[in-house]
């Protein structure tokens, strides 16, 4: 077989490539991405929370954040953007053409907050989850109580991560 034989060249190139594939698929690679399927599961499965290491990774990975935001926004029923920068105080009300979101302290126990969502259009589809993206890149989600008419109300501790995130004007909210 002459060394410049095209059959030999192709065969050897394939052996080289095969070795590279095996190297690429060796286990033990440092995690640098969150699988898209994991992000989809997080967005669609109300009972699924990201494991702590992935949640932490998400906070520091702008690509994963952009991917998750696209996944959530693509199927979102409604979206409330961040509030104006001047709104520096604690936020208790967010409103769009379609929805109103209100945080109200409980009279019985001030350490508890009512999260109330109202749909302005009685015919509009009712969300079952809300996702809140904080200014720091953290994502929080909450499964909503069933709607009664146009309204759903959930009571949470004032320290609950969703309440804390919603209290800041930079938070972005998606209903799904």
């Amino acid at each position: 077989m002459p060394t410049d034989d095209p059959i030999r060249n192709l065969a050897l190139a394939a052996i080289d490539a095969d070795r590279q594939i095996k190297t690429f698929l060796q286990p033990g690679v440092k995690r640098e991405n969150i699988a898209i399927s994991t992000l989809f599961r997080y967005a669609n499965d109300p009972g699924y929370e990201l494991p702590a290491d992935l949640a932490q990774h998400l906070e520091n990975d702008p690509i994963a954040q952009a991917n998750l935001m696209r996944i959530i926004s693509n199927a979102a029923l409604e979206h409330i953007p961040m509030l104006a920068a001047a709104a520096s105080d604690t936020v208790t009300r967010r409103e769009t053409d379609k929805t109103v979101l209100i945080l109200t302290p409980s009279r019985a126990d001030p350490a508890q907050i009512y999260l109330t969502i109202e749909m302005k259009d009685p015919e509009a589809a009712r969300p079952s989850q809300i996702f809140v993206s904080s200014a720091e890149g953290q994502w929080h989600k909450l499964q909503l109580a069933p709607f009664v008419g146009v309204r759903t109300q959930t009571i949470l501790e004032s320290e609950h991560e969703v309440i804390v995130a919603l209290s800041h004007p930079e938070a972005v909210v998606y209903f799904r």
């Binding site: 077989m1 192709l10 490539a17 594939i21 690679v29 699988a35």
Partner: protein
């Protein structure tokens, strides 16, 4: 040297992101915690990335995204509405959407995107790979980018030309990504060194035929004790030879006139067509052997093959021309490759090497051949038992098994005399009627040949006690059993071909006498063993 090391580190750094992206897909989990993509799919994905043979898969993916969006409203729902990316899951998902769009048709085998002039088809079997490719694209290029790149063809009925343009846009993105993240392959010295030796010793033979038993043994004897090249183990040399035979055979086939050449590839300048490279690398994938395919299809559910049997058959090159070119080397690897491995491991552990080296009186090759025969006979018996279960479940795969296990049987019992044919001598077999008659047959050892075969199958079923071969679990295992039939048949065919065609002409007793002496000599020198046993001389 410093520069070399620096370059190596740079290359490794360059590929870290790509490795991480592939690893992310390999580790993606289904809802039950198992892998979302099979190992086969992950390997295929890595192959099309490394070989840069992604043009056709990206076109298929673009059409699939169109089909998913047109039928389901959102491609995300289809791709991630399923937990485990398998062809049957995709089949189920599309079946639920049947008739949802005018320009998309769904059949038993796949999905078609009907254009004005032609039809683009994507089989369900391709969809797991395309799903992994989509996940790879979203991970590396970004979800927003791919979402926008494909939005124009997803939102409305489009021409095939528009889908092709979208696929090209994705190709360009991936090309740019790989330019930054896929380092050039490293040339493997071992195979080139071996081929140089082949050139010097092959006489006037060329291509894979030049790699013979004598060449493999000669190479090992020449270099095992030296430090020029890593060739200490016979198994390593055998594997090098085997991989070269596979690669050279497929390369020759691909470069023959039977396969269309890609326009734009400059073969004179040594350029390699990605489709050809992909085909040869695919042939090197051991996961494609009938044994691995069967293990992957059945897993723990239907034990056509157990761990110890799989270990025995794993010696055999079932998917290529190795045994035809170098039958003795296959058994040398199975026997002496294993002996050498045991010696190496014992030395590493510091254990005593009490086991004597094989002698001709052990008839080691003949014993090994008898073992292969016993294992595959057992598999044939399990296939016969499976035929009974599949017959009871009225699955067509029962007929495939019957045709294979009893090829000379008289099937006339399934024929019906056609009164309209005009002649008493004309007998036609109407497929549906014959199928029904087959499933109506009762086992009868003294009946016609088919009934007697069924009686054998029923007896075999009762004698087997393995996972998947029990009456109480049959409802669960029958689907897996049916799916495994092609792989079982391939395994039986390939093993029988080796035993009956490739190994049969060899004078094994004569080879045993020669090899016992040759291998004992070199192994004693390599590991400083004394004359009588494998004990260290010191």
């Amino acid at each position: 040297m410093a520069t070399l090391l620096e370059n190596l580190n740079l290359e490794e750094g360059k590929s870290d992101a790509l490795r991480a992206a592939l690893s992310c897909i390999a580790e993606a989990s289904a809802l039950d915690g198992g892998p979302r993509y099979s190992e086969k799919v992950t390997r295929e994905l890595a192959r099309i990335i490394v070989c840069r043979s992604y043009a056709k898969p990206l076109l298929e993916l673009s059409h699939l995204m169109v089909a998913a969006s047109r039928c389901g409203g959102s491609y995300e729902n289809l791709f991630w509405g399923i937990s485990r990316a398998t062809s049957s899951e995709f089949r189920r998902s599309f079946a639920a959407l049947h008739g949802a769009s005018d320009d998309i048709s769904i059949s038993e085998h796949g999905v078609s995107h009907n254009g004005e002039v032609d039809v683009f088809q994507i089989s369900f079997a391709r969809m797991p790979l395309l799903a992994a490719l989509l996940e790879f694209m979203l991970t590396t290029i970004g979800f927003p980018e791919i979402d926008e790149m494909t939005s124009a063809v997803r939102d409305r009925a489009v021409t095939h030309e528009a889908v092709l343009e979208t696929a090209r846009a994705m190709q360009r993105s991936l090309y740019a990504y790989l330019k930054d993240h896929l380092p050039p392959v490293q040339r493997q010295r071992r195979e080139r060194h071996f081929l140089d030796y082949v050139d010097q010793h092959a006489g006037n033979r060329t291509d894979a035929n030049a790699i013979t038993d004598d060449v493999v043994l000669g190479y090992w004897l020449a270099f095992a004790e030296g430090s020029d090249i890593e060739a200490k183990t016979y198994r390593g040399v055998y594997e090098t030879a085997r991989r070269l035979i596979i690669a050279l055979d497929v390369a020759e086939d691909r470069l023959s006139s039977r396969h269309a050449r890609t326009i734009g590839t400059d073969f004179e300048a040594g350029e390699i067509d990605p489709a050809n490279l992909d085909a040869v690398v695919s042939a090197l994938d051991d996961g494609e052997s009938p044994l691995q395919r069967l293990i992957e299809t059945c897993g723990e559910q239907v034990k056509f093959i157990n761990v110890s049997e799989a270990e025995v058959l794993s010696d055999l090159p079932l998917n290529d021309g190795t045994a035809r070119r170098m039958p003795k080397s296959v058994l040398r690897n199975a026997v002496f490759g294993a002996v050498q491995l045991r010696l190496t491991m014992a030395l590493r552990r510091g254990d005593a090497l009490a086991q004597p080296l094989p002698s001709a009186a052990d008839e080691f090759y003949q014993a090994r051949l008898a073992l292969y025969n016993a294992v595959i006979s057992g598999t044939e018996k399990l296939a016969l038992a499976a035929m009974w279960a599949l017959h009871q479940a009225q699955r067509n795969e029962a007929i495939e098994l019957a045709l294979k296990l009893a090829p000379d049987i008289n099937w006339g019992v399934l024929a019906r005399h056609d009164n309209d044919a005009g002649s008493e001598n004309v007998v036609s077999i109407a497929a549906v009627g014959a199928l029904n008659k087959f499933f109506e047959l009762e086992p009868n050892a003294r009946g016609d040949e088919l009934s007697a075969l069924l009686a054998d199958a029923k007896r075999a079923w009762r004698q087997v006690n393995r996972a998947g071969f029990r009456d109480d679990a049959l409802e669960i295992s029958v689907d897996v059993m049916a799916e495994a039939v092609p792989d079982v048949l391939r395994l039986i065919d390939a093993t029988r071909q080796l035993l009956d065609r490739d190994f049969k002409p060899v004078d094994w007793p004569g080879v045993e006498i020669q090899d016992a002496s040759t291998f004992a000599g070199i192994l004693r020198r390599l590991y400083a063993l004394n004359e009588d046993t494998a004990q260290h001389a010191d």
